[in-house]
Structures are given as C-alpha cells and as structure tokens.
C-alpha cells in the first residue's frame, strides 16, 4: 500500500548515508520515525529490530507475517517481536512491498546458491556480525534471526515456489517505521553482486530520523 509521508527531510534530526556493504546500528526511541531511502533504486536494505532494553525480544519475521496473515510488509504492518510485542509500525511506504522470507545473504549461503568459489565475497551476515561485535552489550550470532529486506520483491506462488522478481523500487523510494518502543535497529546495506535483484549494483541507502511530534 502506497502511503506518502508528510515529514520534511530538511527537518530530520538525524541523517546518515549507509554505503553498500556497510552495516549501521542505531537506537531509535519510542515515537521517533526512521525513514530508509533507496537512493539509487532496487537496493536491498537488510534490517533487524530489537527491544532496546531486552535484546532477547527481537523482530520475528514469522510472527509479523502471521499476525497480519500476509507475507508482504508495507504501510500498516506492525513489526512483531518474538515475544509478541509491537516494535514498530510501517507508517509510510512509497515502494509498496517488502520481503521478510528471503533473509540475509551470507558467505555460506552464497556458496550454496551460486558457487563454492564465491565464498569470500562480502555478504550481509558479515556486516551484521561486524556491527554487533562493535556494539557489544551481549549481542551474539544467535541474536540474528531472519530479517526484513526492505525494497526487495520476493513473491510466493500458489504452488509454493519462492520467486525473486525484478525490483519494484526505484531511486528515491522510501519506507518509514515509527518506533512503538525504544528499539535498536541493525542494518546491512546489502553487498550482493551475484543476484539480478539489484541489477548487480549495490548502492547507498539514507537513514533519516525525526523526533516524535510534540
């Protein structure tokens, strides 16, 4: 569902461009709004959310899709945690559909999907691990569950096939998440070079944060 935002980028309290292949980890306070902008189009922004006060209570792809009985994330989607809490809600979306079944690329899954020789190509789970190691505070590999792939289009067919379709995003499209509690947001701006979904060309994503309206 396309819902445009009325927030003005020039009034955002925070702005940061995450280059392709880089992680980003940042706390977003309850009531704040995070906008993720696909600056150049069809970029996968692999994203996880945690209760900032209890990392064991984290984004659950399955709880999120079963709660709304729909596999696509878009405006109106509540991001549900493993303990059934609402971490945030997608309040604006100019792309219309985001994936949460495809997960994050990894060196190991690239070996399976593409070729064993692809092992040493950079991958999202390398970025996730790098980010949680730098963040510290007890986060470990087991705290990386299946994530959201903002701007990715991964339909499921009636006969149970998972397909990776051409992107429906383009330069400047964005998605906004309003935090419903204090959350930690972990992003890997996907470095994948083996997949046509991003035209083999990973590009930067912009993170903007606005304070809650007073």
């Amino acid at each position: 569902m396309i819902v445009e935002s009325n927030l003005d980028a020039s009034h955002a309290q925070y702005s940061f461009d995450v280059l392709a292949g880089e992680p980003w980890i940042h706390e977003v306070k309850q009531g704040q709004t995070l906008r993720i902008v696909d600056l150049e189009g069809n970029q996968a922004v692999d994203t996880l959310f945690y209760n900032a006060h209890d990392y064991a209570d984290r984004y659950s792809a399955i709880d999120t899709i079963t709660r709304q009985k729909n596999i696509y994330l878009t405006a109106g989607t509540q991001l549900i945690s493993s303990e059934g809490n609402v971490l945030g809600e997608i309040v604006a979306d100019t792309c219309g559909r985001h994936d949460t079944l495809g997960g994050a690329c990894a060196m190991e899954s690239n070996m399976v999907r593409y070729a064993i020789e692809k092992r040493y190509m950079h991958a999202c789970r390398q970025s996730f691990l790098k980010a949680i190691l730098s963040w510290g505070r007890g986060l470990e590999k087991r705290d990386i569950p299946p994530n959201v792939n903002f701007f990715m289009n991964v339909p499921v067919t009636a006969d149970g096939k998972l397909t990776f379709e051409d992107g429906i995003s383009e330069a400047g499209k964005y998605v906004e998440i309003q935090a419903k509690m204090d959350i930690l947001v972990l992003v890997s701006n996907c470095p994948q070079l083996n997949n046509p979904c991003n035209a083999y060309n990973p590009t930067p994503a912009r993170m903007l944060i606005w304070d809650a309206p007073v």
């Binding site: 495809g102 997960g103 060196m107 590999k141």
Partner: protein, 240 residues
C-alpha cells in the same frame, strides 16, 4: 537395498500437544507419521555438536526457490550445510512459514484447560513446548528459530495473503527426514496456529527411527538441483 538399510531402531508415539527431542545421528532417518490425519508436527533443528549452527528458514527457501517442503528438498543450516533431507513424503506439502501457537493464542482460541483440573489432557502450546525443550540442551529463547509445520499447508495468494488449507494430511501420511549431520531435532504435535478449527484437537504422531545408507552420488535430494549438490558437498566436508 540391504537389510541394514531399513532396520527400525525404535518407534514411539508422541501424544497430541507434547514435545519430543533427540540427537538424530547422521546415517539414521526419522519418520513422522500423522496417525489420525489432520495432525501437525512443529519442528526445529540444530547442529547438536555446535548448536549456534541451526536451521535457517530463509536459506532453505531461497536455495531451492520454495515456500513448502516435500520429498527431494533439503533443510539447510545457516552455514550452507544440509542438516536433513526429505527422503519420503506421502503428503506433498509441509509448511515452513506458519509459525507456532502461543499460550495466549491457545487460551483465546480454545479457552483454558489447566493441569489441576484436566491433568495431562490440559491445553498446551508449541512455543512453550519448544522453549522448555531447548532449555534441556542449554539453549533458550534467543536460540528459537522459525519452525517447520510438517503435515500442514499454508498457501500464499497473489496479494501475499496467507491461507491455511485444511485436510492437507490424511491418516497414515508420513514424512521421512534423513540426517545428513548430527542434528538436535525438537518436534511437537500442537495444532497449527492458523488451523481454523474451533476445537482444541492436537493429534498424536508416531515417530520411528531407522538406519539408512549414506546419500549416494545420484541421491534424489542431492541431485534435485545444483544448489543441493553443493549443500551436500559442504555437509560431507564437515565430516572430513
């Protein structure tokens, strides 16, 4: 096929709503049978030698371009290795995206039936089943992964809508999982969370374990697609 290949080591029933776990050894296979039909077997999987390597739902789906499991497909860990392969299936569709029941969902849907009054016929939920069993192996809520729901079918429409399809599994249907690594497998027989039935009716399952030969060079699961050939190779390298 020699006699050894089909030797049943043991079998045991799993009562409705109960949870079972086992370190399934490489070279054995677990058969789960839906005794009465309409059953559901929620299951999660870990490398029992190093449980931080565990079932990865997205890796399993995207390696094979599937949103269901059936014969010929593999169940992948996050390390690019095949944990288990589906070597037999009379049912045709097993759900990897429908999740599990929780205490709150069971209470809201079926009302409360506590142990004090109902003894072992009390209501149970899959989430508590998984978490309690994980604790027995030193694992906890942070280690929970999305589960497979064997015998259940969830269709996805063009608009992304998820729809539970009743009647997917009939009495006697079975699925067989061959261990390609030593796998901690946790199974529970709670109802599927999207099961529209208004009645609490967790169905019993039969579990049987037998010895099986290692996957041959032309094994159907290995050869089903190039991704699986590589996944089997990576599992085999783990043991070298």
């Amino acid at each position: 096929m020699n006699d050894n290949s089909s030797e049943i080591l043991w079998e045991e029933p799993l009562a409705g709503g109960a949870t079972w776990s086992h370190n399934l050894k490489r070279g054995t296979a677990l058969r789960i049978t839906d005794v009465e039909g309409g059953g559901n077997a929620g299951a999660i999987f870990y490398n029992c030698e190093n449980p931080v390597e565990r079932y990865n739902m997205p890796d399993t789906l995207k390696a094979q371009h599937i949103a269901r499991l059936t014969k010929g497909f593999a169940i992948y860990s996050d390390m690019g290795r095949v944990l288990l392969s589906v070597t037999e299936d009379t049912c045709g569709w097993h759900d990897p995206i429908g999740g599990h029941t929780t205490e709150a969902l069971v209470r809201a849907k079926y009302g409360e039936k506590n142990y004090q009054q109902h003894r072992n016929a009390c209501h149970r939920d899959a989430l508590n089943g998984f978490l309690i069993e994980l604790e027995k192996y030193g694992l906890g809520p942070r280690d929970l992964v999305p589960n497979v729901n064997f015998f259940s079918k969830v269709e996805v429409g063009e608009d992304g809508g998820m729809n539970f399809v009743p009647g997917n599994s009939k009495a006697g249907d079975y699925v067989e999982l061959r261990a390609e690594m030593n796998v901690l497998i946790i199974v529970n027989s709670c109802q599927h969370p999207m099961d529209p039935s208004a009645t609490y009716q967790a169905k019993p399952l039969m579990l049987s374990i037998r010895r099986v030969p290692p996957p041959a060079a032309d094994d159907a699961c290995r050869m089903s697609r190039p991704e699986n050939q590589r996944g089997f190779t990576l599992s085999e390298r783990y043991f070298l």
